[in-house]
């Protein structure tokens, strides 16, 4: 039983990091990038490939995933960040589709639809940490907390305020002499690096990786987490993640017939998303802020 609770904590931690990284570029900076899942996937594949082909360990992989996703995002940003609004959204959604197709077809690198197996469990100072053990929870929660503290500082730094200003009024920020393109690119690179870390964490937890990591439902869940909690609000993304994962596990326990478990989950997600937009369009977090 306790292991199941642990597994939920671990999954929540990974998604909380991913959602928070998305919150940096989408929520804070206002880049409507529907391709954020690419950076998560790139990080996950970086860790899986380095581990299985070159024997790299857990900590090195986290660094490598962050670095590689960040570099990848720099190129991605140069290509897409001249676009704005709906153009950016559709172009990046398309980029996620392309990423999925590449991961499926580049067999020599990713092993295609057969996926990568035989990934090692995290090993720190020579101790192998087993999935769903208390040690594993502590390790993952620590990593996620550290990165989240970093992100919190970033959100409330002058750079964070500049990003918020770009979201509110980019032209005014430009008029104030800021290089908004550069700021946006950096926001994307940092956000991608953190997403890459989340990807590496996922790889070393699931120990199996295939191209479904880029799938459309994952993109929607990510948008859901950030939008429901509150775009651009640090605590909002965490609230959103916990709510979405909690609701996602509910149908299993309510005892719905199997044939509609998936469907009932999606109906609850839809209700949560639409309800939030009607009731608190800035996110459920505003509910607490007003007090």
């Amino acid at each position: 039983m306790i292991e199941y609770f642990f597994s939920l904590v671990i999954i929540t931690a990974i998604w909380a990091l991913l959602a928070q990284s998305y919150n940096l570029s989408f929520g804070l900076t206002g880049l409507f990038n529907l391709g954020h899942i690419i950076f998560y996937g790139v990080g996950a594949y970086t860790a899986a490939i380095l581990n299985t082909k070159y024997g790299w360990g857990f900590l090195e992989n986290i660094g490598a995933a962050a670095l590689f996703s960040g570099i990848f995002a720099a190129g991605f940003g140069l290509l897409t960040l001249r676009l704005s609004g709906h153009y950016l959204a559709i172009a990046t959604l398309g980029a996620a589709m392309i990423a999925s197709v590449i991961a499926t077809n580049w067999i020599s690198l990713t092993n295609g639809p057969l996926g990568i197996r035989g990934i090692d469990e995290p090993e720190i100072f020579g101790i192998t940490i087993e999935a769903d053990s208390l040690l594993f929870v502590l390790l993952y929660v620590t990593v996620v907390l550290l990165v989240n503290i970093l992100l919190y500082k970033l959100f409330h730094s002058p750079f964070g305020r500049l990003l918020r200003a770009i979201k509110d009024d980019e032209i005014a920020a430009q008029a104030a002499g800021k290089n908004t393109f550069k700021a946006k690119t950096w926001s994307l690179i940092l956000s991608a690096a953190f997403a890459g870390i989340a990807g590496a964490l996922y790889t070393h937890y699931r120990l199996f990786l295939d191209p479904t990591i880029f799938a459309l439902p994952e993109i929607i869940v990510l948008v859901l987490m950030v939008v429901v909690g509150g775009r651009g609000n640090f605590w909002g993304a965490i609230l959103g993640t916990i709510l979405v994962i909690f609701i996602g596990e509910l149908p299993r326990f309510i005892g719905f017939p199997d044939s509609i478990i998936g469907a009932s989950r999606n109906i609850m997600y839809a209700a949560l998303l639409i309800g939030t937009m009607f009731w608190k369009p800035k996110g459920l977090f505003t509910f607490f802020e007003k007090k």
């Binding site: 409507f32 290509l79 897409t80 001249r82 676009l83 609004g85 709906h86 153009y87 959204a89 559709i90 172009a91 959604l93 398309g94 980029a95 589709m97 392309i98 999925s100 197709v101 590449i102 499926t104 077809n105 459309l216 439902p217 929607i220 948008v223 939008v227 775009r231 044939s259 509609i260 998936g262 469907a263 009932s264 999606n266 109906i267 997600y269 839809a270 209700a271 949560l272 998303l273 639409i274 937009m277 009607f278 369009p281």
Partner: protein, 296 residues
Amino acid sequence: MSELVAQLIWNGLVTGALIALVALGLTLIYGVAGFIQFAHGEIVALGAYSFMVLHKLVGWEIVPSAIAAVISIIFVGLILERFFFRPVRDEDPMVPLVISIGLSIGLQAVILIFFGPNILTISKKTFHSLSLFGGKILATPSQIWAVVLAIILMGGTILFLHKTKIGKALRAVASNRDIAEVFGIHVNTAMRWIFGVGAGLAAVAGIFLGFEQNLEPMMGVMIAVKAFSAVILGAVGSVRGAIIGAFLIGLSESLLVGLGIIPSGFTAAIPFIILIGMLLLKPEGLFGKRFTALRQ
């Protein structure tokens, strides 16, 4: 060789026509309401399913079932507009867009609960292909109807926007909502028209798509995603741009894969490779300034 190319062009035209019908509704909604309707693919699926119910389960003939299905889906469009999009019309455009994402997963789940996950055929009959142009092209009757009807509906939509009073009103609302209101054009009326017409066009596409590839709850996703790129390709809000974008995607998918220029495993990526390539060259869309029917 020429037969191969002719058949590939025909395949591309059929795909392009279906994408165009979906893209047309999307670009109209974008032009007037100002956001991309992510649940448009599910309206396509609902069109196909309601036709299947009337034609295959109730047993009506093809034409009356198609007309009844399209009319009922127009009502679905009106209901969505009234209850989901009108209340948030003055919010940040992100709000209706996020609502439409919610509607998209919600409607898919509803279809899944009602019809189950299995793939259903749209009709009990099987249709055999006809040979056109001295056997160079094989086409099913539904494909021929799809192309012909799509062209009529596209022409009709353009005429409607330019020649009728309501069409002109819609264009006025698209270019400036406040000024239109001053001239006595009611925004609610405009929205109703645009969502009704968009849903009707999507339903037509859905019925033909059902004849092409059978019915499944997620059947609208791929075509909607292709239509998104067609709309962006032709510059959002532009009617002619969306149509040209749709045929460009349909034809290039068919020719690039069919002639072996791109391996078939990459088919799903082609619309976006074209889109991203084009956006790098012309960020405002292919017909950014010249060709806008809605936004002048």
